[in-house]
Symmetry: C2
Subunit: 349 residues, 2 copies
DNA sequence: ATTAGCACTCTACGCAAGTGAGTGCTAACA
DNA sequence: TGTTAGCACTCACTTGCGTAGAGTGCTAAT
């Protein structure tokens, strides 16, 4: 069967109405509200066709039609018009995102919060993965007799520290030397690369005095690197789902919140997604528990390289057009912000 | 009217039964299940008295009795027996808390998670407030021509960094000098004190070369200090509330989750609470939205000084005895852990 | 002072009837 | 041949009613 122009128009009308009302849409409604110049009976025939083709479903015999995942997919791919944000909306977003720029993590958190405010959905933001981030500088600093600080600075400006207790006595000179050696060895390597390249062996046979020092330090160095790879997940607007009819049921609400509470798992899923604006609808989400959800994510860039993500999750019935526009504008804005900031002050989280 | 021995026994039986079942307790139930040697009729009379005294309420005429906030308060103050944890339970807790010790924040987060697992309630943990933490060491490190790192180490081992872009050219010598001066000036001062003591003026008239440097650095120093004061709030087991009859209603569940989503406000409330094990029941929580909740918090110590908090929140109907025992054991354990760790490896978050 | 007995109250549950939105089919129409 | 009006049918949802059951409070007996 062919997807005629008229069928598309009807489908679009149904989607548009359903997204607004969350109620199954009847033929009469379409005929009255949308000026298609055809009678309810004709629309019913077309609807039956659309259902046969898989674009619509039927909660029960005497109910109106509801768009299927397939319909939303078609809508996102072909029918949807990206909404151009108004000057005002844009300025609000830019302004709100600027307010806290000097604190990277705060900015990201704030972006998530803003997004949930605008969309009335649950939103999230992921700080960049640092696998591509290269090491720039390693230092070892004496604090007192038994304590030194290991400090790692990455190209993106990320700093990480560990305070270490040293068993063997150390000289400041040795520390400097070891730090220089480590910097020399690791500079320019990405964190991932550095993690697979433990130089402790090469020190082993070197100057004896430094061997003990290196032994104390290297495990902590590795652990610190691992820690630098970690991303933070911020989530906002969780309670928004209570205002969404789809979750108007304790069981549904529970499983939604349970899913999002498993931050590790959810983070992994986000990391697996491609960059750019990605929309996954219903069953397209591999996970069973997300089969009733749509997920929209987009990536922002830090320093033109590192990639973080931001997005929303909600019922498949969502305003795809508006939301993608907002997210796109926000990620552009974030990427710009973090480009200007490049080399600037960037607080370690 | 006097609170006779028998009345207390009946009250305790009612509380005990209600805490378990969440159903209003009738006189027959008490008479049958609890061996008080008195008939339902007598119990009814006593119940009527207890109600008059304010310890019980009555959802409706033909329902059993429900303990009031006042009853729980009496229970917590006088009737409750602290449950001695079994060897096994203790060892599970100790073990789970040890697993991640090298990462302070992770340990705290883990403690919250463990607590919610044990209690089946929503739990939270607050990292220590650092107002009492004194500065130990300030350093300024050259990274490249335009970038330096400002590093602050506190007595408790907390480290904080900021990468700064420096406009004026700097010499390594000047950096060292400035760092030394700052350390000299701030060492031993608490963060709060340091925040009210901007030394930039005293530098103003000093060596000219360092004035520009200080100007670049001091605002960032202050901001970093402010940041060091911030506490982190971890929350776990949010979805547990869906299994609690009291929240078996979307409206209730929503307001609960909304309340806890406002992390800033909730954190402030936690900080305001006294140290030690504090139980607040229903209307005792100043906040209207927490009038149906009970909140149990306890404080743990880091290095014998800094104080963090951990606790649970749930309906007023909760197992006060067990929970306070668990929390007490956990905070003791945490305090011990962080005492041993004192001066040891402590990862900056 | 305690208890058995009993009338009374109130919620919760199930069932039946009614309502209304919406469909699918058929036959008439342009 | 595509479109439309008409109509019977379906099914969820609401409302009202009757009943069962749990529990109280009172009274009178022990």
């Amino acid at each position: 069967m062919e997807l005629t122009e008229r069928k598309l128009k009807i489908l679009q009308a149904i989607i548009s109405d359903y997204v607004r009302t969350a109620e199954p849409v009847g033929s009469r409604t379409i005929s009255k509200k949308y000026d298609l110049g055809i009678s309810p009976a004709t629309i019913r025939n077309e609807m039956a066709d659309l259902e046969e083709m898989g674009y619509l479903t039927h909660p029960h015999t005497s109910a109106g039609r509801v768009p299927s995942d397939m319909a939303y997919r078609l809508y996102v791919n072909a029918l949807m018009e990206k909404k151009e944000l108004s000057r005002e909306e844009k300025s609000i977003i830019s302004q709100r995102l600027q307010s806290n720029v000097h604190e990277f993590e705060k900015t990201i958190e704030h972006a998530a919060s803003l997004l949930s405010e605008i969309t009335n959905l649950t939103s999230f933001a992921l700080t960049p993965t640092k696998e591509e981030d290269a090491l720039r500088f390693i230092n070892l600093l004496p604090v007192d007799e038994k304590t030194i600080v290991l400090m790692i600075v990455s190209e993106s400006g990320k700093i990480s520290n560990t305070a270490l207790t040293i068993n063997a006595p150390y000289s400041e000179e040795n520390l400097q030397l070891l730090a220089k050696a480590m910097t020399y060895n690791y500079k320019g390597k990405t964190i991932s690369e550095a993690l697979t390249n433990n130089i402790i062996e090469s020190f082993e046979s070197d100057i004896a005095a430094m061997s003990g020092l290196a032994h104390d330090i290297m495990p902590n160095f590795m652990r610190t690197l691992e820690d630098m790879l970690n991303v933070n997940l911020y989530m906002e607007g969780l309670s928004n789902i209570f205002d969404i009819p789809e979750y108007n049921d304790l069981q549904k609400a529970k499983s939604f919140i349970e899913m999002l509470s498993q931050k590790d798992i959810f983070t992994r899923k986000l990391l697996e997604r491609d960059d750019g604006i990605i929309v996954t609808i219903g069953a397209e989400n591999a996970d069973d528990i997300m089969n009733d959800c749509a997920l929209i994510t987009a990536s922002y860039h830090v320093d033109g390289k590192l990639v973080g993500k931001i997005g929303v999750i909600g019922p498949t019935r969502m305003k795809y057009g508006e939301i993608t526009s907002v997210i796109e504008y926000m990620t552009d804005n974030l990427s710009d912000t973090f480009k200007l900031e490049s080399g600037g002050n960037d607080k370690d989280e």
